[in-house]
Amino acid sequence: MSGRNLFTRPARLAAIAPYGWMVLFFLVPFGFVLKLSLSQVANAQPPYLPVFDLSAGWRALVAAASVLSLDNFRLLLSDDLYLAAGLRSLTVAATATALLLLLGYPVAYAMSRLPRRFQPLAMMLVIVPFWTSFLIRVYAWINILQHDGLLNQVLLALHVVSAPVVWLSTDTAMYIGMVYSYLPFMILPLYATLSKLDPSLCEAAADLGSSPLQSFWRVTLPLSLPGIGAGALLCFIPLVGEFVIPDLLAGSDAPMIGQTLWLEFFTNRDWPVAAATAVMLLAILLLPLVIYDRFQRRQMVRP
């Protein structure tokens, strides 16, 4: 039957516009980042050298290319500031991902155990905050965590503390903001896996004499590993390069790599070093990105 090839040719045509768009606005720009990371900062407009000018001819291009150097990367590797930023980004992202898992798993598990008819509602309730602005959600916590904010007021009223606690500009505040902002990204993949688990497996484990905790540990948890992996990647990768949350909630003494990039670009106006930082960030993320892509494709084949 011809049904197999249905839509194939028009679908190929459909690919042209989005394909071209993504190549031009997603793939090609990385080439510019790479080129700029090998350039020198200059007091000019745009603020870097060399500038490739195709109209200047081949010889000028070669001359410009010969000026490219690895100086920026040498700077990144020799200055402790950048290495520390990279290391801190990884630790912070890993810690936040672990916290997200600890908090998200019970919620996702409870959602999957709700009676079927309530599950779409629960899912909706988890998604809705994701639709409100990221910036607003971080800002809401500034309101609560500031010196005379609601949290300190409540703690003082309950006599838990005798003097206001400093929350803002600490790592605690940053982790709260991160967990809060990324929680739906963790809950949804976990829920997707847990809700597909056959409950009879746990019943079988119970029939064979295992306690609820044992059957969770030996049946449910191993079977939900794909969801754990998806949720962890979905949170970890963007968290490494996160800018807004550490900038607004954490102290300024130990910046993350996204903040370093921002600082180099907007404050120091050193575009080449900012580009080199972006390349470094990308290099750090390459492995998790590849894993993520594999994962997505596997899910696509078997939806």
């Binding site: 194939t8 516009a17 989005p18 309730l125 905050p129 639709w131 800002y139 990768i237």
Partner: protein, 273 residues
């Protein structure tokens, strides 16, 4: 037999986890909205109910201009993203094999998790290299690039759930591929495209980092203005702006879920994600 077991399964622990989780998600937003009605000049002292900060916002021309820019960018980029994202989803689910398919799906998934500082910086460098003047269109293009990927994922999951024999039947009855698409597929994936458009719209309205890199003088978006205010500390007016944005989102979601309810249960799971 399943009734008592279901009851057992929904143990106290689960109820507590769900209640605490949802409280954690919603409490900060609720507090923010309540404090936006605070009459006091001090953000932390409750001075009674008042609308003064809303009035202040509607008298602040710079903020209003930024809000207008944001809405225009969001509307244009969400529309572009809905078209491009739907085409991409069709190509991935209906086109069996084509050259560079792997690269294509990689390019569509990577921006979903790519740190925004990288996307922003790389797009800016492209615009500089192309000699484009930075402003409304550069931000719009940047947002389209990011949000079309979200649309593609949503529409793709909907396309995966559609019985392809419906399209085949239409073609067996003499429809061309395009006509079969318009008559059969499009109505079925309509809710998903609408959900994708709305998500693209809110993501664009929300974005600070990419917009900061790609914008130019005179076209600051609302998040850029809010960010520069917030850096200087909490301002009561920002509370009001945030509450307005939350209200708009809530209204959109309620309208959307009512619309999908009214349009019948045929649409199946037209949930926003």
């Amino acid at each position: 037999m399943s009734a008592p077991r279901r009851f057992d399964a929904m143990s106290r622990f689960n109820v507590a986890a769900l209640a605490l989780g949802l409280a954690f998600l919603y409490l900060p937003i609720v507090i923010l909205v309540i404090y936006s009605f605070n009459a006091s000049q001090l953000v932390t002292v409750w001075g009674g109910w008042s609308l003064r900060w809303y009035v202040a916002f509607f008298n602040d021309e710079a903020m209003l201009a930024a809000a207008a820019t944001s809405l225009r960018v969001a509307a244009v980029s969400a529309t572009l993203a809905a078209v491009l994202g739907t085409l991409a989803a069709l190509a991935l689910t209906r086109g069996e094999r084509f050259k560079g398919r792997t690269l294509f799906s990689g390019m569509l998934y990577a921006p979903l998790v790519m740190p925004e500082v990288i996307t922003g910086l790389s797009l800016l460098l492209l615009f500089v290299a192309l000699g484009m003047e930075r402003g409304f269109w550069t931000v719009t293009i940047a947002h389209t690039t990011l949000t079309m990927c979200f649309v593609a994922v949503i529409v793709q999951s909907r396309l995966g759930g559609i019985d392809r024999s419906l399209e085949e039947a239409a073609m067996d009855l003499g429809c061309g591929p395009v006509r079969a698409f318009v008559a059969v597929t499009l109505p079925l994936i309509g809710p998903a495209i609408a959900a994708g458009w709305m998500l693209a719209f809110t993501l664009s309205l929300d974005d600070l980092v990419i917009a900061s890199f790609t914008t130019g003088p005179g076209s600051a978006t609302l998040p850029i203005r809010i960010y520069s205010e917030v850096r200087l500390g909490v301002k009561p007016m920002v509370n009001a702006i945030c509450a307005l944005m939350i209200g708009a989102v809530a209204l959109t979601i309620i309208t959307a879920s009512l619309a999908t309810k009214l349009s019948g249960r045929r649409g199946g799971n037209a949930a926003p994600m």
